[in-house]
């Protein structure tokens, strides 16, 4: 499936994104956003929060969303690395694992990375149950989702850049 559908797909997932707010000239962005949301998972990779983040962009902060997203990936990569070390150094230290994952979950929620966030939640549930194996599996999923999201968002922003500065700089007022 194309990441960026050419048409304005009225996919049910689109409702997640306030695409209707996007003016025609923002179509490219709208499409891109929708596409990410439409991707694979019924829940979408990104949720409403991402829209809010994007909404925060304006002329003074034209690349805010991208900046935040890259900040997220940088920080979350660090967190996950720490986490992996913690898993090795402190096996079965569920409290510690939980704390790490809590951190990651917070970051994800800030940018609307819903799938990664959900995986974090299930990981924490496993921690609560003290299910080491469940935790490990869950963590692998977290890593996977994280990587996928990074990829998608990179493409997304690339697309936006291709759409031209006008695309991002002049968000419609209705945003």
């Amino acid at each position: 499936m194309s990441l960026f559908p050419t048409g304005v797909a009225a996919s049910p997932r689109c409702s997640l994104f306030r695409w209707k707010r996007k003016l025609p000239n923002q179509l490219g962005r709208a499409k891109a956003v929708r596409s990410v949301g439409d991707e694979c998972s019924p829940r979408g990779y990104l949720d409403e929060q991402f829209c809010q983040v994007e909404d925060l962009q304006d002329e003074a902060n034209p690349n805010f969303a991208e900046e935040v997203v890259s900040l997220f990936f940088k920080d979350s990569a660090r967190v996950m690395l720490n986490f992996e070390q913690a898993i090795e150094k402190h096996p079965k230290d569920f409290a510690r694992w939980d704390a790490h994952m809590q951190q990651l979950k917070g970051s994800c929620s800030s940018i609307g990375a819903s799938r990664v966030k959900n995986e974090c939640t299930s990981f924490r549930n496993f921690c609560g149950e003290e299910n080491a194996e469940g935790c490990t599996r869950s963590f692998q999923k977290v890593k996977r989702e994280h990587a996928v999201l990074r990829q998608k968002l990179e493409s997304y922003f690339q697309l936006l850049r291709q759409a031209g500065p006008a695309g991002t700089a002049t968000r419609p007022a209705g945003k």
Binding site: Q49, Q52, V53, D55, L56, N61, F64, E67, V68, L71, F72, D75, S76, A99, Q102, Q103, K105, G106, S107, S109, S110, I111, G112, K117
Partner: protein, 691 residues
């Protein structure tokens, strides 16, 4: 903080200074951007320790804090506690963790709100309400400084700590101390369990004179050793009063007694004229109390007291026929600043601190009202003597002192003191507490009205023959004949307490009357809002409420700001005026003022305000009392609208007076206050509409 809108200019929420603390850079970035979108002034910090440093360096640099819960260098809750303790700023917790127990923990630690990540823009747009609410509540708290303790600390556990903090509160900016108290409670976590909203905006019980009198009566009846909150509550039979209120009040009361006992030795010099209102404070009930406790007032102490009384308020002795004001003046005469009047009589325990408790050195300073306390202690001594019969002179002396004190303070105070003199059989002579503070003597308590004494007709004073050296009560020239009148009433009503016996024939005893209501509402009007223990005098509310927190801040200098409109003194324009006159002393305005006059806003009779408060309604004893309170209430309200006659703290002055008094005082206040006054006046009572 952004100026409250009332001033015109930018609307309040705009420009509100927010500090965000979170170790997650992503969240910080998003939040900062959102806050800027809301037109707030946002500062981010990724380390809690650094945030604390920033806050400590610049307390007024921020209006609200948003903090994450899970942080590596410091637990968010710990930061919450510290901020609350040290800076008393609203703190909003934030976390992706939405578990109920964590959220509950946040609430218990005193968080104003708890946001779940991701934080949406809509939620951030509303955070300004916490700032306003906190200011408003603080103002109210200050007014009810006494009550604050009650509500905050439902638990009698940290006795000393709490006590100390209460004391501090009175002394310093009530808001600060309150914060401490609050924090303490929060930290303890006890509050939450018992009273989750204790630290928050729960309505505080104002230990008015009458209420306190009832309390003391109950305690006396049970015996101080056997007095348990539950039984006291039953005996008091006051609707709306909870066991926790009683428990905290009892705790304070016990501390007060203890202090008195401790200061027993120091009675000889009890009356060190307190710098601020405290003046009598030195005598503070402490000595008296001790005496009371011991059942005997050492002649030395008495003499000392008398000297003090005499020394200070020269005129005070005029009692008879004088209104409370005069009484007060007499009592207060000391140098008590206007604020002294404020002394929440009820707070004698704290306030008197000067002597007795030490920690509260004259908390009244700000309050000016303290005098009431001082008066108290004196009373006590006298009472202790008579333990039961108010011993002749000693009581009278005490009563005089009390009277003096009362004089100083809005009439209410006096009556209270007089009442307090009521020496109960238990031997605890506690100045009628009218003021919220424990009526020093349990025995004394009878006068719930305590302060009211003066209110009533000078009759009381008259009753107190010149034997009372100090006749503090009357001395004051205040119109508050009510005070005296109050005393009179007391006699009539309660007559239970020998209080007055010393004086003159037992008028005092009348004063002592336990009947809380007996006491001339008049006299005390200023201070005590008519025995509405819980009264949050509508007036005051009206008044104070108006003031937009922002106003307070901006208006007065810091000192005033603290008061946030507390009546204590710096209250907003109006209050500030009132308070300012006194409050200058105490920035806290709240305490000083609030406590005492807190709600009542400086004695109407008082000078500074221009209107003599308190005596606004000399007439009907009990009714007048009420009215006077209103007047009183008014004033304080101005700033804060609190006049509720804070409990224990400054004065029991029912906030009611806020209404009447406000009018007049406002004018005065504005002027008196000076800068703040101008601005404030509108607010406090909502008059000028500054608000």
């Amino acid at each position: 903080m952004a100026p409250v809108e009332d001033g015109g200019g930018v609307e309040f929420p705009v420009g509100m200074k927010v500090l965000v603390v979170d170790d997650d850079p992503t969240c910080l970035a998003v939040l900062k951007r959102m806050l800027l979108e809301c037109r707030y002034d946002a500062t981010t910090c990724s380390q809690a320790t650094r945030a604390l440093t920033m806050l400590r360096e610049n307390r007024r640099g921020f209006d609200v804090i948003i903090s994450d819960v899970h942080m590596p260098d410091m637990d968010g809750f710990r930061l919450l506690e510290l901020v609350g303790l040290e800076m008393d700023l609203p703190v909003i917790m934030m976390s992706a963790d939405s578990r109920t127990d964590i959220v509950m923990k946040g609430i218990k630690h005193g968080a104003c709100d708890y946001l779940i990540k991701p934080v949406r823009m809509e939620e951030l747009k509303n955070i300004w309400q916490h700032v306003i609410r906190k200011k408003f509540n603080e103002n109210k708290e200050h007014e009810h400084s006494g009550s604050l303790d009650d509500t905050d600390r439902t638990r009698p556990t940290n006795n000393d700590n709490e006590y100390a903090s209460s004391a501090n509160d009175g002394a310093e900016g009530s808001w600060k101390s309150q914060k401490k108290k609050r924090d303490k409670d929060d930290d303890d976590g006890e509050l939450e369990s018992g009273d989750p909203s204790s630290t928050s905006k729960k309505p505080r019980v104002v230990w008015s004179v009458e209420l306190h009198q009832q309390f003391v009566n109950a305690v006396n009846h049970l015996g101080i050793d056997k007095a348990v909150p539950k039984k006291i509550l039953e005996l008091m039979n006051v609707p709306g009063l909870t066991r926790e209120n009683v428990a905290s009040h009892l705790q304070k009361f016990r501390l007060y007694l203890k202090r008195i006992a401790q200061h027993h030795a120091g009675i000889a010099n009890p009356f060190c004229p307190p710098a601020s209102s405290g003046k009598v404070g030195s005598l503070g009930g402490l000595d008296f109390q001790a005496l009371a406790a011991s059942g005997q007032i050492p002649p030395q102490a008495l003499a000392a007291l008398q000297d003090e009384l005499l020394g200070r308020p020269t005129n005070s002795l005029v009692l008879p026929g004088r209104d409370q004001s005069s009484l007060r003046l007499a009592a207060v005469k000391g140098n008590k600043p206007h604020g002294e009047r404020e002394i929440a009589f009820g707070q004698p325990i704290y306030k008197c601190q000067n002597n007795a408790y030490g920690p509260f050195p004259q908390s009244s300073p700000a309050v000016g009202g303290m005098p009431s306390f001082s008066a108290w202690p004196n009373n006590k001594l006298g009472m202790a003597d008579s333990t039961g019969t108010l011993g002749g002179m000693s009581n009278s002396q005490n009563s005089n002192i009390v009277l003096h004190e009362l004089q100083q303070q809005p009439d209410a105070m006096l009556s209270g003191t007089l009442h307090s003199l009521d020496v109960k059989p238990s031997g605890i002579v506690m100045p009628s507490q009218s003021l919220n503070t424990f009526s020093a003597s349990e025995g004394l308590s009878p006068n719930q009205n305590t302060l009211m004494i003066p209110a009533q007709s000078s009759g009381f004073l008259a009753a107190m023959p010149p034997s009372m050296k100090h006749e503090p009560v009357l001395a004051t020239s205040q119109p508050s004949s009510s005070l005296l009148g109050g005393i009179d009433l007391v006699n009539q009503a309660s007559t239970s307490q020998p209080l007055i016996s010393a004086h003159g024939g037992g008028n005092l005893s009348g004063l002592v009357n336990r009947n809380p209501n007996v006491v001339p509402s008049q006299g005390i009007s200023t201070f005590h809002t008519p025995n509405n223990p819980y009264l949050v005098s509508p007036n005051s509310m009206g008044v104070g409420s108006k003031q937009p927190p922002g106003v307070l801040k901006t208006e007065n200098s810091d000192a005033l700001n603290h008061s946030y409109g507390y009546l204590g003194g710096s209250n907003p324009p109006m209050d500030s005026g009132l308070l300012s006159s006194q409050s200058k002393n105490t920035q806290f305005g709240l305490l000083g003022q609030d406590d005492i006059t807190g709600s009542w806003s400086p004695l109407p009779n008082v000078d500074s305000y221009g209107n003599t408060v308190g005596l606004s309604h000399p007439g009907s004893s009990s009714s007048s009392f009420q009215s006077s309170n209103v007047a009183l209430g008014k004033l304080p309200d101005q700033g804060r609208g609190k006049n509720h006659g804070f409990v224990g703290k400054g004065t029991c002055i029912p906030s009611r007076f806020a209404v009447d008094e406000i009018e007049s005082p406002t004018n005065n206040l504005s002027h008196s206050i000076g800068s703040s006054g101008d601005i404030m006046s509108p607010d406090i009572f909502g008059f000028s509409g500054q608000m």
